[in-house]
Structure formats: structure tokens, C-alpha cells
Symmetry: C2
Subunit: 367 residues, 2 copies
Amino acid sequence: MAVTSTPAGSITDVTGVAVGHHQRTGRAWQTGTTVVLVTDGATPAVAVRGGGPGTRETDALAPENLVHEVHAVCLTGGSAYGLAAADGVMAWLEQHGLGYPVGPDVGGHQPVVPVVPTAVIFDLGRSGAFANRPDSSFGERAARNARSAQTNWGSVGAGTGATAGGLQGGVGTASTRVRLPLARPVSTEHATTSADSEAGAVEVVVGALAVVNANGSVIDRSTGLPWETGGLRLRRPDRAQRSALADALSGSAALNTTIGVVATSARLSKAEASKMASVAHDGLARAIRPAHSMFDGDTIFGLATGHAELPAGPHRLRAEGSRQHALNAILVAAADTFAAACTHAVVAAAAIGDAPAYRDLCSSALR
Amino acid sequence: MAVTSTPAGSITDVTGVAVGHHQRTGRAWQTGTTVVLVTDGATPAVAVRGGGPGTRETDALAPENLVHEVHAVCLTGGSAYGLAAADGVMAWLEQHGLGYPVGPDVGGHQPVVPVVPTAVIFDLGRSGAFANRPDSSFGERAARNARSAQTNWGSVGAGTGATAGGLQGGVGTASTRVRLPLARPVSTEHATTSADSEAGAVEVVVGALAVVNANGSVIDRSTGLPWETGGLRLRRPDRAQRSALADALSGSAALNTTIGVVATSARLSKAEASKMASVAHDGLARAIRPAHSMFDGDTIFGLATGHAELPAGPHRLRAEGSRQHALNAILVAAADTFAAACTHAVVAAAAIGDAPAYRDLCSSALR
């Protein structure tokens, strides 16, 4: 049976994944951009489930379409205006020769077209100035800042201008290790029960990054704790703190969105990565209530870096250790890990604008 | 019965639709941007059918999603890099207060977020310089240049760097008038045969704009004429011209795309506009052979300006003059008109780079 760890750590625990932020605060600025960088390439997918998405390069990710590898995903504030941040991510990738190779070499240099799937959150006017929003320089700087040992989370990058049910929102992350038993491939000549028996195991990592700018709440106001603890050890806040929290939770904004990435070290097809991105929305639905509204642009990208090989299919459906079972264990981890990342986003956020931070309102929860 | 005219004219025959181009040629430039502007707003839709699409803001157009009105569609060269042109279209729309209204007035001014659905063609390197491609200024200028009496077609705007099966490609257009009989609404109390009888008629216009950068050919090399004449009166070119044409048709590029817009003056729901965009791909399939390849990003946007009211549904399925019949007549016109626009794009194009123009190779066809 697949054995899954408690979510902890970060999306950068997935080999090959780095994260960079760029933000601007003060002087009527409160917005930013986060880039998930996979310089060795990853198999991409997307699941759009909100009623008001702002996106770019999502059609290329359909399983039947040509592009089978991307090198970055861009998540940004600025609503649709923020889609300009992807121009800067493209510029950075082009400078590094990363993208879809097109045409013959030019001066010993392979021309590329980077495909940068992008989604936005609505944070316009949070700083007081509607026109202060990310441009291409935000994307370029976020890509340049990418680190595989990224430790800045909360109200940074695309989470800078985020709110979550009246609290300061942010960028959260988590990862889960999944140990998958491997079945011997079913022989078509000698299909026996023993052919399905365990033949070793493979460990894959599932990581998530969530930019939580939700209309719904990550926090259950009756307990003062997150709906999903996501592996965090939290104590129930006292009555006074719960009362202050209840006041904050009523100050929700109208246009919101949770966007993010679920990544795995497993090698997946585009269709499998698409299923992973789709099921990660279950984690979003558990961690943020309500979610997927007409006014949310909830969008999750999938990335599979291909460092761990799953068993090859096809296998008999019920066979433990089959590809389907391995994929299914990844799906379960994708939902759990994305939920943990949503919780982490709000718990890690520091107050930066008008919205209070959970960590300040409910300081006793984190003791 | 619906009566449909032969395609002629232009997409700007649809009330409320204007078209603007901006292009740059010479000094190693050969690319541009075309904007379809609907300043009074239109109900949007999209159908992506190519294997290599480069798009922006298409998820917002899904029938179930929030955005029910857009003010511009951006079509551009530059492959994925060209998506930056939409930033400039957004800037122009914001300056004119056009977009999705968000939040309260700021200084007596309603803040807006324009949603600019965008698709790109691959024309990188056609000029000899891979890095010369549209940026945001191309989108802003194309929007500024928009005219409801646009007469520049062929190798202009997004068609500047286009090739079509070895010939110079371009931007083409056409329109069709459809006279739709109106049925009296079916009375739920007194449903009789006479309730379905004709009660007047409404005329709607269906217009199309196609940027043809196809791997497949618009021209049948055996006749030297377009697969679809699209209302054009053409003569069969002579043997020498057909031979020169056959040579040109073998010089096709690897990465191509046909993108465009089908617009109607009818008021349609997003789902109906989506059906219209989908069926317009049938016109593309007839006019360009082959089409919809893994290397084409074939994408058609739908726009319904709402100046003509169709009968309200529901009606009995077989009732002439019902909403379903009216919509179906629009679908037939959408395919015919988009096919005509594809043909027009190549016939109207003038030689501008390495690729020969059909009008030069087969001059006797246009006499």
C-alpha cells in the first residue's frame, strides 16, 4: 500500500523546482509576482475551476496539444493587467535558452519560444492606487530571484496584496512524500497472482504552492483554527482572540482568487498531470470555504518533473503497485498537500496593509 | 426559411465592430498586430482547435464563467512573445474606460479591468531577425487605428509576417446577411400550428476576420484557384502560372496558425456564441487544407454585438422561425463567412518578404 507522510516542507522539495518572488510595498504599492521555475523542464497541466479566471497560455496545456514541457509558471497580482508579468518571465527564460526550440540555430544559438502558463489574483487598489500593479519587470525579477531553497513565504510575491476572508492572504507551500510499491509488470503470457506482488518501491514527492486571495475563509470562526491544519500544530485561540478574528472574517472583498501549482517528482503524461491539477482543487475546496465562486478565478497548474518513474501501464485495475494505484496515491497527496499550502499561506502571512494577519489576531494558536 | 447572401464585404459590416492594424516592415521587421474593437461591448466566446495554440484570456470566455462582455480581441504575430501586444490593447481600453467595472469610483472615475482575448501566429524570423516581434506598443497602436470603415486587408496587421502554404498570408474578411423568419412564440395554453407561422423577419449580419498563416494551402494546386471562392469571381490561371504556383506551394513552413474572429449583430448567449465559434472552424477546414494540425494553433473567437434580437426560446424543435433555427442559420453563415475570409486573406495579400503573393503568381485569376 502507498504510504503518505504528513504535509510539511515546501514545493521546492520536489527535485528540479525553484521558487522566486518579487514584490513592491510602501508608497501606495502592495502587489507582487511569484514564479515557479523548473529549468530542467516539467510536463505541464492546468485545471481552471473559478468563475472569473485571468489566464495566459492555458490552451497549450490541453493533453492533446503540442507543448509537452514548460520551464516556468507565473502567478501574479494585478488582475488581468498582471498578465504582463509573464512577458518578463519569458524574457528571462529566453536569455537562458529555455523554451520550445523553433527553427535552425542562429549564430550557434537555438531560438526558443518559452511557454509560461500564468494566472492572476485580483489585488487592484489594495494599496490605495489602482494603477500600481505588476508589469514585465516583476516577472523578470521573480524569475531571477528563484531559489531551490526558498524560505520566504506568506505575504511575499503574488501574495503581497492578497486577502483571505478578511485576513491578510499570502503564498503558502507544503510537500508530501509518497512511498509507492512497484508491481512487476503483468506478463501477457503468464498472468499469475504473483505477477502483481510487490517488487520494490519508489518514493515520489508531491509539493504545492498556493497564492490564497480567497473570498472564502481558511479559518473556521467557531474554533479560530484552520479548516485543514495541514500538518501544522496549532492551539485553539482564546475567546478574546476568536472574537477579534470573527470581526476580521466579516470584512471580505468581492473579487478574489486562489491560484497555485501542484508539482510532483514523478514522470506523468500531460493527461495524468491534468488529473493531478484537477484533484488538487479538492484540497482547495477543503481548506477554503466557500471556494470556486463566480468571483474567484481559482486555477491550479500541474507540473511533473519526471525524476521518479512510476510503473508502466497498463496493469490490471485492482493490482496494488500498478500505475493506476501509483497515480491515485499521487492524487490523494495532491489534494492533501494543496490544502496544507492554502492553510500555510494564511498562517505564514504578516500584516502588510489594512487586513490583519492571522498570526497577530490569534497569536496563541501558534505558540 | 432563412435566406443567406453570398459572402462579401467585411466584418465591419456588423454594427459595432471596428478593426485596426499596426505593422512594421523593413529593417529586418515583418510582423504586426490586428485588433477587433467593439467599444459598445460584445458577448465573447472562443474555440481552440489547433495543436499549438498561444492564447490569453480564453478561460474567462467559458460559457459558465463570469465575464459576459469584452471590448476587443487581439490577434498578433510574434508567437507567444506577441501576447505582450494585449498589454497595449488593455492600456488603450483602460484610457477609454472600457472593461469589467471593479470597485467604487475613484475620483469620479469607474476603475475597469479590460478582458482582451488574444491569440498569436508564429512569424518569428520571417524578417530575418528572430527578436523583432510585437510588443505592447503594437497592440495600443492597432487599437488606436481601429476604424469601422477599415479598408486595409491582406498583408497588414497580424497578417504582415504570415505565410499560407508557401504564399504570402494575410488578414482577410467577409460578411454575410441572413434574413431570419420570426415565429410567434409558442403559447403554452394554445399551442397550434399557426403559432409557428411566420410573423415577420429579422436581418442579422455575420462577419469574419481571418489571419491566415497556414501550413496547409488555401489554393488547390490542380486548378490554381482557392478551395473556396468565398464569393470572389476568379478565373482559372493559365498553365505557366499554375506551374509557378505549384513551386511556391511546396515551400511551406513548419509552425503555423490561422486565428480569427466571427462576429454577428445578433444577441447570443455565451454558449450560443461558443457554438458559433466552433462551427466557424468548419469554414477554416474547407478553405485551408490540411488544417488543425499539431503545429497549428488554430483559434477562432466569437463576438455577438446584440443589435438584432433573435426569437426567444424555447420553441418546438421543428418550428421554422424558432430560436434554434435562427441560431442554426447563423452557424451556417459563420462557416461560409469564415471560409470566405480565409480565401480573401490570401487573395488580397501583397508580396512583402520572401513568400510570393497569389495575386502576383496568378494575376490572370483576378482579371
